[in-house]
């Protein structure tokens, strides 16, 4: 078993608190992405798991054993660094063999393991080269090879794809998914790129300001964001957040009354200020009829869809996603109508919680995964 858990872990650097009370339970064999903007504490979390940073308080355990006091090399983990951190003075073969050497494996065994890893990652012709002579993608594969050659219980990956160009990145994403499927090992993956997190991870830890904002499946994080931060962070463009007032069964914004089903929301939803969240794909643009009046400010046609930026009379901006080729001109007055299925309500505070009542599918899904 190689489940990973953080229990009440805190980390501060002097007066600065990087992480406040982190609790995470990562299952054996799970691919978990730590996602968030820079400075959110995701790298610190990973580095503490690796033993490169020390928690100020709290316990970190791997496979049920607290590892706080174990040196990184004794935790049975492997790590791929953003910079790859290949040893420049060693050949590719020596780089991959290094962790085995440190574990006292004899040369023939090392060579065999290196050969197998090289075969898996198509590195055979490069084994005698120095890292400097390799392309970015090849270096990346060597770093992976060095990580997997020792068959660790947990893989840690720190933004491993961020130094690759877009094409190679999408190729490597597929490779990593395949690798995870084949090895079945626990993987903890740090990234600031939501596309990577959404496409690769079983579950995503969305982090911000040293706190976990949501820990759930990609589907849940997208469709049921826990709070305004997650709603505004996930999705390109992210979820629209419209300030208004709840009055009975309506959400009033700019004298437009949007009907809502009060029974679909938590009891804590009371009349008064609130924030309505709507993903751009649930914002319909119409020429006339009932709805929220707005003006077209920008229409960006990407080929398979059009992203429209709209301005409300009070100056607030709303994004909409409509089919490609839809003719909209700048300055054109339109009427917006929101699909009731896509309406979320949040508390009006800065990072207000989401108030929708959902059937907790997420929990059951992740348990069975």
């Amino acid at each position: 078993m190689a489940n990973v858990s953080f229990t009440n872990v805190r980390k501060s650097f002097g007066d600065f608190t990087a992480l406040e009370s982190l609790d995470l339970e990562i299952h054996d064999g799970e691919f978990v992405a730590l996602l968030g903007p820079s400075g959110c504490g995701k790298s610190t979390t990973l580095r503490m798991l690796a033993g490169l940073e020390f928690p100020t308080s709290g316990d970190i355990s791997i496979g049920g054993r607290v590892v706080n006091d174990l040196a990184p090399g004794k935790r049975d983990i492997a790590m791929v660094f953003q910079s790859y951190a290949l040893y420049p003075h060693m050949t590719v073969g020596e780089n991959i063999a290094y962790p085995l050497k440190k574990r006292g494996l004899k040369k023939p065994e090392r060579d065999e393991a290196v050969r197998r890893a090289a075969e898996l990652l198509q590195l055979e012709p490069l084994l005698n080269r120095k890292p400097k002579q390799l392309s970015g993608g090849q270096q990346q594969r060597v770093a992976l090879g060095r990580a997997l050659v020792r068959e660790p219980r947990v893989f840690l990956l720190d933004e491993p794809l961020s130094n690759l160009d877009a094409k190679l990145r999408s190729y490597m994403r597929a490779e990593l998914i395949e690798l995870h499927r084949r090895l079945g090992k626990t993987m903890v993956y740090v990234t600031h790129d939501q596309l990577e997190a959404m496409t690769m991870a079983d579950r995503i830890v969305v982090m911000h300001g040293g706190r976990v904002q949501q820990f759930d499946t990609p589907d849940a994080v997208y469709n049921r964001p826990a709070n305004r931060f997650v709603a505004g962070f996930i999705g390109t463009p992210p979820m629209n957040q419209i300030e208004g007032t709840v009055q009975g069964a309506t959400f009033v914004v700019n004298s437009h009354r949007q009907p809502i089903k009060r029974e679909a929301f938590a009891a804590s939803l009371v009349d008064g200020p609130a924030v309505m969240g709507v993903r751009p794909e649930f914002v319909g643009i119409h020429d006339s009829g009932d709805g929220l009046p707005a003006t077209v400010r920008l229409a960006e046609n990407t080929g398979h869809e059009t992203i429209v930026t709209l301005e409300l009379p009070d100056g607030a901006r709303i994004m909409s996603r409509v089919e490609a080729g839809r003719k909209l001109s700048v300055g054109q007055p339109v009427i917006l109508r929101f699909d009731p299925a896509g309406i979320h309500l949040f508390e009006a505070t800065e990072n207000g919680a989401r108030l929708n009542l959902d059937i907790p599918v997420a929990a059951t899904l992740s348990q069975s995964a």
Binding site: R47, A50, P72, K74, A78, A85, Y87, P88, K102, R150
Partner: protein, 277 residues
């Protein structure tokens, strides 16, 4: 069109005349060392020697204690370098890659002593060597040279160490190395060019040092080249310039070797020595 051709020519002429002007004293040193005594005191001087002779070099090696001085300098500079670079490498590793109380203060203290004038330390050091009964030995000079060489080496090595990515060491730790293992396997090979550069700087610094040798050592048998050659100048009844110029050339031999083969290490040491900006 004409100015396009002329500009590089003028640039080259100006630059090279300046370069030659700057190197003239050195050329003159070599020229003088090769002139026979009779030609030396001619007025006006001959710019190119009419006869080339190596007699001064021969006399220097056979009739003066030059070789003793040279040996002393080699021992002094080599020991100082090994001592200081050894200490400095470990110290710099600690200063850059470990967290402990007083680390920052220590780094600033190193920088402070790096700028400290030697004359402040020379009086107490002299007293210390006399009290320890080791004055007038090469060992006392090695200790004294540590006062400027150690802060210098530490500062340089610290800067080189900072240039090695943290993640290289982290990778080694995750791969199963201990801190010292990671140092040996990963950091040291990366630091090696920096160590060579620091060693060269320290060696040259120690090789060229004059004040400490002047104060701490007064017998010919332990004098390094700097004070030794200067005594040759002072003690001679009439100053034998050819001989002194030959000594100067010989004294610069290690430097010429470094310049010919290892100059890139010297230039990289500059960046590390605090001139960034």
């Amino acid at each position: 069109m004409k100015s396009k051709m002329l500009r590089p020519l003028i640039l080259n002429l100006v630059t090279w005349s300046l370069v030659l002007l700057i190197s003239f004293p050195l050329l003159w040193m070599i020229v003088t060392s090769l002139k026979p005594q009779t030609e030396l005191f001619r007025i006006p001087p001959t710019w190119v020697p009419e006869t080339v002779t190596f007699e001064h070099y021969w006399r220097l090696l056979t009739e003066t204690p030059f070789l003793t001085f040279f040996r002393n300098s080699v021992v002094l500079a080599t020991s100082t370098t090994i001592f200081v670079v050894g200490l400095g490498t470990l110290g710099a590793y600690s200063l850059v890659r470990f967290r402990f109380r007083g680390r920052e203060t220590l780094a600033m203290l190193v920088l402070f002593t790096y700028l400290l004038p030697s004359v402040v330390l020379i009086i107490p050091l002299y007293l210390m060597m006399v009290n320890l009964g080791i004055s007038n030995t090469l060992f006392s000079l090695i200790l004294a040279h540590t006062t400027f060489a150690l802060p210098y080496a530490l500062w340089l090595l610290r800067s080189f160490m900072e240039g090695i990515p943290d993640d290289l060491e982290n990778a080694a730790l995750v791969d199963g190395a201990s801190r010292l293992g990671a140092f040996k396997d990963v950091i040291f090979p990366q630091l090696l060019p920096g160590i060579i550069s620091t060693a060269l700087f320290t060696f040259i610094l120690s090789w060229n040092e004059y004040l400490y040798a002047l104060v701490l050592v007064n017998s010919e048998s332990v004098a390094p080249l700097t004070t030794g050659v200067m005594t040759m100048l002072i003690s001679a009844f009439n100053i034998e310039w050819s001989l002194l110029m030959a000594a100067s050339v010989m004294m610069s031999v290690p430097l010429i070797v470094v310049f010919a083969f290892l100059q890139s290490y010297l230039t990289s040491g500059f960046g590390a020595g605090g001139v960034k900006g």
